[in-house]
């Protein structure tokens, strides 16, 4: 299910902003349960936006912490902007802009502390651009950071991240505190950011509607494993959502499903496009013409894919795949 993004415009060698290979991390959480990020592999070519999607607890934030060396990997290789983030940590981080879901300054500080603290960190800090963003986002320098709303805190981090010509922007769940207008504005900012083809974005979120139009590549992580990584369009075209009545699902059809949800009024299933024919053909009764009118078939979007593959059946299958 993994496709590597070797898509090029003119056939020349692709320059990668981020390459991750066989990344693994396992640990025991505070409540005693184990968590495992298993053989994560993905590539982000320079100049594009990659969405990191998956349900809560899937491992997206863990992956980002591993990229930033905030937690240590058990196995695997990472290359950021063609450098090794372990041996060249300082050079790599000077070129990164990071936005988390909560502010990384002390809440007791005022907004103006952000520039005094961050500007000396980056040789290419652009104060005019930073001030411009503060104005645009409506951030006042004398307010206490703790008093800002979550959305405003995120905008502060974004303003910092965009003001030192970072070549890779990493955003970890930045939209949780934003309303629709602000999220739209963020998409505009990101598209503008990659406009010259030399800047890239890695964007992790569980609000998938933001990414569906704007992401070039997608990595879907669930329960610590990569279900898919590659161009976004291919993911959405690889699956169909099939809906039908409660009696319309035959035993013989189940092996062709990637995911399933049943309810009193019917079922909703995720079928890979290449297996759709087989699925329809094994409907029962077998002597009836398999017709699409019996089922409602439509293109899958991220929400459906995530929702339907997070059920226990799909996860169990995936674990079996992993053990193999």
């Amino acid at each position: 299910m993994c496709a590597s993004p070797s898509m090029t415009i003119s056939g020349e060698d692709v320059d990668y902003a981020l390459r991750v290979s066989d990344l693994g991390k396992s640990y025991v959480k505070a409540d005693g349960t184990g968590f495992r990020l298993h053989r994560v592999t993905m590539d982000l070519p320079m100049g594009y936006i990659m969405g990191l999607i998956g349900p809560n607890g899937a491992g997206k934030s863990t992956l980002i912490r591993l990229l930033l060396n905030m937690i240590r990997r058990d196995s695997g290789e990472i290359s950021i902007l063609n450098r090794d983030p372990l041996s060249q940590e300082e050079e790599v981080k000077a070129d990164l802009g990071v936005v988390f879901d909560s502010i990384y300054f002390l809440e007791a500080w005022k907004v103006k502390a952000a520039e005094s603290v961050m500007a000396p960190m980056y040789p290419s800090w652009n104060s005019d651009r930073y001030q411009g963003y503060l104005r645009r986002f409506g951030l006042q320098e004398n307010r206490r950071i703790g008093k800002l709303s979550r959305g405003m805190q995120m905008k502060l981090m974004l303003a910092v991240a965009l003001s030192h010509d970072a070549r890779l922007l990493i955003l970890d769940e930045p939209t949780s505190g934003l309303d629709v207008l602000a999220r739209d504005e963020l998409m505009d900012i990101l598209l503008d950011y990659i406009g010259d083809g030399r800047h890239s974005v890695l964007f992790s979120t569980h609000i998938t509607t933001d990414l569906e139009r704007v992401a070039d590549f997608v990595t879907y992580i669930n329960r610590g494993s990569v279900f898919y990584t590659g161009p976004k369009d291919e993911l959405m075209e690889a699956f169909q959502v099939v809906r039908g009545g409660p009696d319309d699902l035959a035993r013989a059809q189940i092996p062709h499903l990637m995911g399933l949800q049943r309810s009193a009024t019917g079922f909703e299933a995720l079928v890979s496009t290449e297996h759709l024919e087989d699925f329809l053909a094994s409907a029962s009764p077998a002597d009836v013409e398999p017709s699409e009118e019996r089922y409602l078939v439509e293109r899958a979007d991220f929400d459906n894919i995530i929702r339907l593959t997070t059920g226990s059946r799909a996860a169990a299958n995936k674990s079996k795949e992993m053990e193999a």
Binding site: M7, S10, G47, L191, R213, V214, F217, K232, D233, R299
Partner: protein, 135 residues
């Protein structure tokens, strides 16, 4: 160039972009040799991903409607509208072929078929090309 993209319509976005550019070329809104917006510029305007626009442009280039010139951008092919027209003619031919087959199966006489055709042509007059542009 006017481009309207809807995420709600069942059509993939790259297909919508393709179709609308194709119509524009056929209608003459986009002239031969004229430049299309750059990939990233269009992606920002439409608020869609760069790869989606790339795919639309690539498909159009494969059809021969546009040319991708390294370092300069994408331009309407010199004979873009002619290629389109040829396309459509081929399509009309195959559609007519199907219609004729169906008519034969129904046992219709050639004269009957012709009069049906005349009737249709008379109703719609010279239909604008854009109606044919939609798949």
């Amino acid at each position: 160039m006017k481009l309207i993209i809807s995420s709600l319509s069942g059509q993939p976005i790259y297909r919508q972009i393709e179709d609308q550019i194709r119509s524009a070329i056929l209608l003459g809104d986009l002239k031969a040799g004229e430049g299309l917006p750059s990939l990233r510029h269009l992606s920002q305007e439409l608020r869609v991903s760069v790869l989606t626009v790339t795919r639309a442009y690539t498909e159009l280039a494969q059809e021969g409607l546009v040319e991708n010139i390294q370092g300069k951008g994408t331009f309407v092919a010199d004979s873009g509208d002619q290629v389109m027209r040829q396309h459509l003619e081929d399509r009309v031919q195959s559609l007519l072929g199907e219609a004729v087959d169906t008519a034969r199966r129904a046992g219709m006489e050639p004269d009957r078929i012709r009069s049906l055709l005349d009737g249709l042509l008379g109703d719609k007059g010279s239909a604008p090309a854009s109606k044919e542009g939609k798949e």
